[in-house]
């Protein structure tokens, strides 16, 4: 998998590059600014881009804006955004209309090299990787005004969170040490309870769940 890294801190940029190379990725370029990232991506056409949010030139949300631009103009390039601080707003913006080939992770996740590389490979293959922290925050927030969510069993809530992170049934089953069939059963109970459209496709599932979590409870099905 050909990767471009964008990170303005030299130390972290090299560390990230080393981690990815050892994890079997082909790091074709490393950018220090959002502008460089856009230029190099157009030039080298990588499979995956891994970018920090706060970068030059403005040192505000430059990396995120570059990621959104890439999602719009070069949808074939998968994008993973790393940040020191996670926000629901950024997750929703990144997913946009499609959850294919997109990731939003806490920077600290790099340290868990094995899982980090797994998440990156999943996104590179067209999947989704939302950080457990941002999902947890969204679930906690949604619980306060979606009564339907509070009716889920603890195990169902676990499954829902893992679904929102972008994990496949197989991966969820391994994590929870249950059978894949049990995961499918939980998933369909969740769909029923929340009134979500049934979908076997992992990306559509992420999108539906995240939308449900980040929208205000307005429909009757969530309130009865």
């Amino acid at each position: 998998v050909r990767v471009i890294i964008a990170e303005d801190e030299a130390l972290l940029r090299e560390g990230l590059s080393l981690v990815l190379t050892q994890g079997g990725f082909d790091v074709v370029a490393a950018a220090a600014t959002a502008d460089d990232l856009l230029r190099l991506t157009a030039e080298l056409q990588p499979d995956l881009v891994v970018t920090d949010i706060r970068m030059p030139p403005d040192r505000t949300d430059d990396g995120l804006r570059a990621a959104l631009t890439l999602r719009r103009t070069m949808p074939q390039v998968a994008v993973v955004v790393l940040s020191q601080h996670l926000q629901r707003r950024y997750a929703v913006e990144l997913l946009g209309g499609s959850s294919a080939g997109v990731g939003y992770l806490l920077k600290q996740r790099i340290a868990d090299v094995e899982h980090f590389c797994q998440d990156l490979r999943r996104v590179g293959a067209g999947g989704t990787a939302l950080d457990p922290d941002v999902v947890a925050m969204m679930v906690a927030r949604a619980r306060t005004d979606h009564r339907a969510l509070r009716r889920l069993t603890p195990r169902q809530q676990q499954v829902l969170a893992l679904m929102a992170e972008g994990r496949s049934n197989g991966s969820i089953a391994r994590d929870l040490v249950v059978s894949e069939k049990a995961v499918i059963h939980h998933a369909s109970r969740i769909y029923d309870e929340l009134g979500l459209p049934v979908s076997g496709d992992d990306h559509r599932r992420v999108l539906a769940v995240v939308r449900y979590l980040s929208e205000k409870a307005t429909d009757e099905s969530a309130e009865h």
Binding site: L12, R59, T60, H85, R88, R89, K107, A111, V113
Partner: protein
């Protein structure tokens, strides 16, 4: 502060009553002269012509009585006298229509004298004196044209005309042309002087002078032009033309009288009465300035105070005041108590050409100005205190930001790197089981430390505030609040000044912390609204209430910071339980450089 309307403050003294007697005598003689006109005018040459006579006498009286009014109100100003003189010239002028006698001769000699008097009046306005050499020569030329150059017109007139010494049509024609040419020149120079004065007068003086000068220019041009053009090109009854000219000139004293009633003229020389008025009324700055404006007849007058500590002038709000460079229209009069400088008057030299008159007024108000100076100094130190508080808040915000950025860019990255290294040791091929377990534990602990650091950075200066601004940061704050929280914002996503954004955010964050700690609330509502001038934040809960600004250190610190930026913060119980925290932050110190 209320501005008091100046009360009539001029008591009648022996001086003013003798003036009154003199003015009455002049008024009576004008009446008498008018009645002589009425008695001897050649009536019954037609109703229309009779009306012209009535109008001629009336407008002459208008000049005289308007002049006497101005004279009485402003005894030291000669303008009223000039106006009255012009009125008498009109009354004499009417003698030229008598059928015979000595009075007719007087009328013939003074036929055009009113014009010269009007020119004098216009050029002497508003002080009654002729300030420039050009103006003086123009007025003298005007009188020469009307009295001396008029003589060929009656000396060489047809036989039988009064005062005619020889019937010499050639000389008559030449004399007429010379007088007309010279008269036209005088009118043009007058127009030029008035236009130049209007252009050079200060903005506020223009309000007083503008209409008068514009009309004056029109008036002096209308008389010769109507005589030369209208009378020649069209067949016009000469009486009718005279009627128009007289009426048009009679407007001049009316306008000038309006200016008198508006206080547009200088009334100097009654400083002792101003002094007694000042003693009677505790002077507040607007009243003092208002009194000075009335006394000097100059609405543009400014009063500034000398600050001995700062060694510059300040205005009554305590802000630094700059003196105008001495120029043609603005001048500065220093005010001293004994030899100590206490302030200065800035006035319009068009309205008060004599510095010594203004200096006299300055001496009278010196003590009152000194008192106001102390007040202004107090204002200045209060203003400085406010600024220094705002600077401290700004410095605090800047430091917060710098600390947050340093932690974000430096320390957090290092923790990630350390964690990666710990992980690498744990997964290396050649380590013992014990080392592997230790390294794995180390990695987990480093992750926890990084998490704690993230929280600290978030509390100091949230990432969303730096990256996206207030709206995004409040949304994130509401997301992380473990109670149902609604957030309503009528605020554009545009970035506000960093100080204001930061303060608004921390007010809400502190209020939320209080609710979670003490209120036992079921839900929270955050509302933010804003316009170009300020933003307002409100946090309401449905808890037990009872929060006060003084009860929480956090909110008290917030109120200090809000006050330092000229805003306010208040906490109050809601009618059906719960608490409302509300703050308003002005945006006036909007500095485009401070936004990232």
């Amino acid at each position: 502060m209320t501005v008091q309307v100046a009360r009539p403050m001029w008591a009648r003294t022996s001086l003013t009553s003798s003036l009154f007697a003199g003015l009455t005598a002049i008024g009576l003689s004008a009446l008498l002269l008018g009645f002589i006109d009425f008695a001897l005018l050649p009536w019954s040459s037609g109703v229309r012509d009779d009306l012209v006579f009535v109008e001629g006498v009336s407008s002459a009286w208008v000049f005289v009585f308007a002049g006497l009014l101005a004279w009485g109100r402003r005894p030291n100003n000669r303008l009223g006298a000039i106006m009255a003189f012009a009125g008498f010239a009109f009354l004499l002028d009417l003698f030229s229509t008598f059928t015979n006698g000595a009075l007719l001769a007087l009328g013939v000699i003074t036929t055009t004298l009113p014009l010269a008097a009007v020119v004098h009046l216009l050029l002497a306005f508003p002080t009654g004196t002729l300030r420039s050499r050009l103006a003086r020569w123009t007025v003298i030329a005007g009188y020469l044209v009307c009295l001396v150059l008029q003589s060929p017109l009656y000396l060489f007139g047809p036989a039988g005309a009064p005062l005619a010494v020889a019937d010499r049509p050639g000389l008559l024609k030449a004399g007429t042309w010379v007088q007309r040419g010279a008269g036209l020149l005088v009118m043009m120079v007058t127009t030029y002087i008035l236009a130049r004065r209007w252009r050079d007068s200060s903005h506020r003086a223009r309000r007083v002078l503008g209409s008068l000068y514009i009309y004056g220019v029109f008036a002096v041009l209308f008389v010769p032009i109507s005589a030369e053009v209208i009378a020649r090109e069209f067949t016009v009854n000469p009486y009718l033309l005279y009627f128009a000219q007289t009426l048009e000139l009679a407007v001049v004293p009316v306008l000038f009288t309006v200016a008198v009633l508006r206080g547009g003229f200088a009334r100097t020389g009654e400083a002792h009465e101003l002094a007694s008025w000042l003693a009677a009324d505790a002077s507040r700055p607007p009243v003092l300035v208002h009194g000075l404006a009335t006394t000097l007849g100059d609405p543009s007058v400014e009063l500034v105070y000398w600050s001995a500590d700062a060694e510059h002038y300040v205005d009554d709000g305590g802000s630094t005041a700059r003196l105008p460079a001495d120029n043609e229209t603005r001048a500065v009069q220093e005010i001293r108590v004994e030899s100590r400088l206490v302030g200065a008057l800035i006035y319009d030299t068009t309205l008060n050409p004599e510095p010594k008159d203004v200096a006299a007024i300055g001496r009278v108000v010196a003590l009152a100005v000194d008192r106001e100076r102390l007040t202004a100094e107090l204002g200045a130190s209060r203003e400085e205190l406010r600024r220094s508080r705002a600077r401290i808040v700004e410095a605090g915000n800047r430091e917060r930001r710098q600390v947050a950025l340093a932690l974000h860019d430096g320390l957090q990255g290092r923790l990630v790197m350390l964690s990666i290294r710990a992980g690498r040791i744990a997964s290396a091929q050649d380590v013992t089981g014990a080392t592997e377990v230790e390294a794995a534990k180390l990695r987990v602990e480093l992750d926890e430390a990084a998490g704690e650091l993230r929280d600290v950075v978030h509390r100091i200066m949230p990432a969303a505030l730096i990256e996206r601004g207030l709206a995004a940061a409040l949304e994130d704050l509401a997301d992380r609040t473990p109670l149902p929280t609604t957030l309503s914002m009528t605020l554009s996503e545009e970035r506000l000044p960093a100080d204001v954004e930061g303060l608004a955010y921390f007010v809400v964050a502190e209020a939320l912390t209080n609710v979670l700690k003490h209120a036992d609330a079921g839900q929270i509502a955050i509302a933010v609204s804003g316009d170009a001038a300020s933003i307002q934040v409100r946090v309401e809960d449905d808890g037990v209430g009872g929060a006060e600004v003084n009860s929480g250190v956090g909110l008290r610190a917030m109120r200090d910071r809000v006050n330092a930026l000229d805003g306010w913060l208040r906490i109050e119980g809601r009618p059906h339980g719960g608490t409302r925290v509300e703050a308003l932050l002005p945006l006036h110190e909007l500095d485009p450089l401070s936004t990232p």
